[in-house]
Symmetry: C2
Subunit: 263 residues, 2 copies
C-alpha cells in the first residue's frame, strides 16, 4: 500500500469514527491550553491517538509531530520521514459554533517537504488528498484553484488567531479586508486552505500558524495550482520556524501585493 | 391557526422544498445585483415567491416587504401588519463557500415591531422561531443567550458587508477584533443572530443591515434574553431608517462599551 493509499484508508476509518464514536459536539467538554480560546477536547486526544497508533503500526521508524501532548516536540532529524498531524483543526468551531469548519489534517513530510496529505471534514463528508506531483482531489474529483486575479472580485479569509498577535494581524490584513469583494473568518486553517484548492476562496492570511495547521493544506493548495508564501513573499518551508502565512490561488498574488507588511 | 403556527408550518414546507427542489448548491447560477458580491439566484426568487404566495393566500390584506424584486419597496403604512422576508440570507455563502450559513428569514411585524418570527437553516436542519413575550426556540427547544460578560472570553462575529462601508466597519469593530477571545465572520446576519440566541456567540456587529436581514433575528435574540442596539446604544426600531447594528447577549454590552463610535 502506498503512503497516499494508507492516508486515504485512514481518512475513511476516521470518517467512521466520527459517525459512530463522536456524539453531539456541543456536549463535549473542553479546556483551554496555554492561550484562552486555544482548546483541546477528548476528541482531539482520541483522534491523535488513533492516527499515531495506525502510523506506528505501519511505519514504526517514522517520526510523528502532532498538535496534542506527547507529540508536540519537533523531531530532531527533519530530513527523515515525518508525519505532521492536527487531529482536529478548528476545535473551537467544533465545540462552540454552528459551523462545520473543523477537520482532521494528516501530512507525510520527507526531507522537510510534504509529499502526501489527507484532510477530512467529517460533518461535510468531504475528504481531500494530494500527492506531490500528482494533483489534489476532493472525494475523488480533481481540484483546481479559481482564476480570479482581482481583489475586487475575490473572497478573502482572515484568521484572527491568538489575541497576542491580533493587532499585527489586523494591520497586515487591512488592505485585503478593505478591498476584497467578500471577507470571511472561518476559524480553521486547513478548511480555509482546502477551500482555496476547491476554487471557493482566493486568499487566506494567518499571522502565526503552526506546521500542523498547514502541512497537509499546503500540499493540497499547491497541487491544485495555488501558492503559499510568507508575508514578504518568501516561499514557505514546513519547518523554517517562521510563522506568517499567506495562501492564494496564485493568480491574485502574482497580479500585485496583497498585504502591507508595514501594517 | 395562529401566526406563529403558520410560520412554523411554512418553515417545514420550505425545509422539504430545499431537500427536494434545490440540487447541488455549487451548480446554481447567480448574478450580482447593484453591488459586487450582493448576489441573487433562482433559489432566492423561487423561495420568495413560495413564501409570498402562502402569505397572500392566508392573509390577503397584509403588506409584504422582502429582499428580492417586486417586494423591496417599504410599504406606506407601517402601523399595519407587515411580513418582512429574506428568502435567502447569505446567498454568497450558499453559492460560493463550504459554509452552510445561509437561511430563510420570515418575520411578522405589527405596529412596526416584530411579533412573530421564523428562521430555517436548511443544510443544518435547524428551525428557529419566536413569538413576542413567549420565548425563542430551536427545533422545539427553548433558547437562551450565554452569560459571558467579558470580551476576553467572548466570540465576536463581524459582518464586513458592502465594500463601500468596509473602512467604517473595520474602524467600528476594531476594539472588538483586537480584544475578543475569538473573531469570526460568518457572512449571514440572521445566522449570526440565531447563534447569539443559542448561546454560541456573544456579539455581532454590522454597519449597514437592511430590515429583512434582522427582522426575524431581532425577535429571536430578544426573546432569548439578548439585546440589539445602534452603535451609539439607541434601541433599534425595525423601520427607523438607520442602518448600523450591534447585537449581543446583553450581559457583555451592559458591562461596558463594545465599540469606538469614532472609529
Amino acid at each position: 500500500m502506498t503512503d497516499i493509499a494508507f492516508i486515504q484508508s485512514l481518512l475513511r476509518e476516521l470518517d467512521a469514527f466520527f459517525r459512530t464514536e463522536v456524539g453531539n459536539r456541543f456536549e463535549i467538554d473542553g479546556a483551554d491550553k496555554s492561550e484562552p480560546g486555544d482548546r483541546v477536547t477528548d476528541v482531539d486526544v482520541a483522534v491523535q491517538k488513533y492516527i499515531v497508533d495506525r502510523i506506528q503500526k505501519r511505519c514504526p521508524t517514522d517520526a510523528v509531530y502532532g498538535e496534542e501532548a506527547g507529540y508536540d516536540i519537533l523531531p530532531s532529524d527533519l530530513s527523515e520521514r515525518c508525519w505532521v498531524i492536527d487531529p482536529l483543526d478548528g476545535t473551537y468551531n467544533f465545540q462552540r459554533t454552528l459551523s462545520p469548519a473543523y477537520a482532521v489534517s494528516i501530512a507525510l513530510a520527507s526531507g522537510g517537504k510534504p509529499v502526501a496529505a489527507g484532510v477530512l471534514l467529517p460533518e461535510l463528508a468531504l475528504s481531500f488528498s494530494a500527492e506531490k506531483g500528482k494533483g489534489a482531489f476532493c472525494n475523488g474529483e480533481p481540484l483546481s484553484v479559481s482564476s480570479i486575479d482581482s481583489l475586487s472580485e475575490a473572497k478573502v479569509d482572515v484568521d484572527f488567531s491568538e489575541i497576542s498577535r491580533r493587532s499585527d494581524c489586523i494591520g497586515a490584513a487591512r488592505h485585503l479586508m478593505e478591498n476584497a469583494s467578500q471577507v470571511r473568518s472561518t476559524g480553521s486553517t486547513v478548511v480555509a486552505l482546502c477551500s482555496i484548492a476547491r476554487g471557493l476562496t482566493e486568499v487566506f492570511i494567518h499571522p502565526c500558524p503552526q506546521p500542523w495547521d498547514y502541512a497537509a493544506g499546503k500540499l493540497i493548495v499547491e497541487e491544485a495550482g495555488g501558492l503559499l508564501t510568507h508575508f514578504n513573499g518568501d516561499p514557505i518551508e514546513l519547518f523554517d520556524g517562521r510563522s506568517d502565512l499567506i495562501a492564494s490561488n496564485g493568480s491574485i498574488q502574482r497580479a500585485g501585493p496583497l498585504i502591507d507588511i508595514n501594517g
